[in-house]
Amino acid sequence: MLYIPGNNPAMIQQGGIYGADSILLDLEDAVALNQKDAARTLVRNMFKVTDFYDAEVCVRVNHLSTPFGLADLEEIVPLQPSAIRYPKTESPEEVIELLNIIERIEDRHNLPHNKMTLHAMIETAMGVQNVFNIASKFSRIDAITIGGQDLTADMNIIPTPDGIGIDFARKRIIMAAKASHIDVIDTVFPDVNDEEGLRRETEYAKRIGFTGKAVINPRQIDIVHEVYTPTEEEIRKAYRIVREFRMNSAAGIGVFAIDGKMIDAPIVARAEYLLRLANVTVD
């Protein structure tokens, strides 16, 4: 997911060419407080005509407790981007308030309530504490994300390269997402010149369960893709597992072995997930 500042026309119009799976047009932290009106109008106009190719396009609005949040929703909801990303989500009550406003705007524009989804950003200690109730109770929330910079600020700690200060939060948010069967996206890696650091952090994010990672510069996209794209060897192995599972199932055999290793339901499920990621079907 590539963050693009909402008040930068050059970056918006080029946003689709870098190959990111999704693009986030940002009206929040990337926009100066006295340029919120300009960014909102620019994003509205550019969204309508810009070709973002295959990328899913989301818009991050400002929180409703700011003077900007409601005006953002009035302008963005009628556009029906793939999702609205809501910052600093702290409680289910906040989500209810947000959804009520979104649905009122959708009603005024004769829009359905089930097309555009929500991404809840968890970036305060309170949000981390309430994350399962936020992730699990709303059918429109199809992803949660962690905002590392704001979270460390809220916790009064200094961000470190090993991310130790937000490690508990990361894992708690992942568990809430997994239990709710929704996506969970890792925070940005702010040092665009540290490619090895980005690779290390992305590999860690993948290992602990994040389904993707946000980036702030197109240069970071390839590294995230390299980490998340299954290797040919992984795909071949998964293909073999699923194919042999189906053959064995048809013969009434539930557990079998490949190269001396037992294959059972969890391994098959993991192989099927990997093949879905790789867009591979088993004949």
């Binding site: 050059a10 919120k36 300009a38 005006a71």
Partner: protein
């Protein structure tokens, strides 16, 4: 409508346009100054976009200066709209400059 206050929107960066608006005395009409790095190719259509938007907001007694750095039409319209609304003191959902 006529501008209440001087206003500006946009930047001097590539693919953007900066729009400045000043109120003029009553019955002064419109004074429009456009400069663009692509004036020869797109000057005519740029001028039409400006006039159409000023008509849409029924703006008069206005001095509008636009310095373009190759902005696309949606950007030009966005910056014009923002500058016009700011000049009318109709800024919503932002901190005023």
């Amino acid at each position: 409508m006529k501008p209440k206050i001087p206003a500006q929107a946009g930047t001097f960066e590539s693919s953007d346009v900066i729009v400045l608006i000043e109120p003029l005395p009553d019955k002064a009409g419109r004074k429009i100054e456009i400069s663009s790095s692509v004036m020869q190719q797109f000057g005519e259509s740029f001028t039409k976009i400006v006039i159409d938007l000023l008509d849409q907001f029924e703006m008069t007694d206005i001095h509008l200066i636009a310095k373009d750095k190759g902005a696309l039409e949606p950007t030009i319209k966005a910056r014009l709209e923002t500058a016009i609304k700011r000049s009318l003191d109709l800024q919503e959902g932002t901190l005023k400059q």
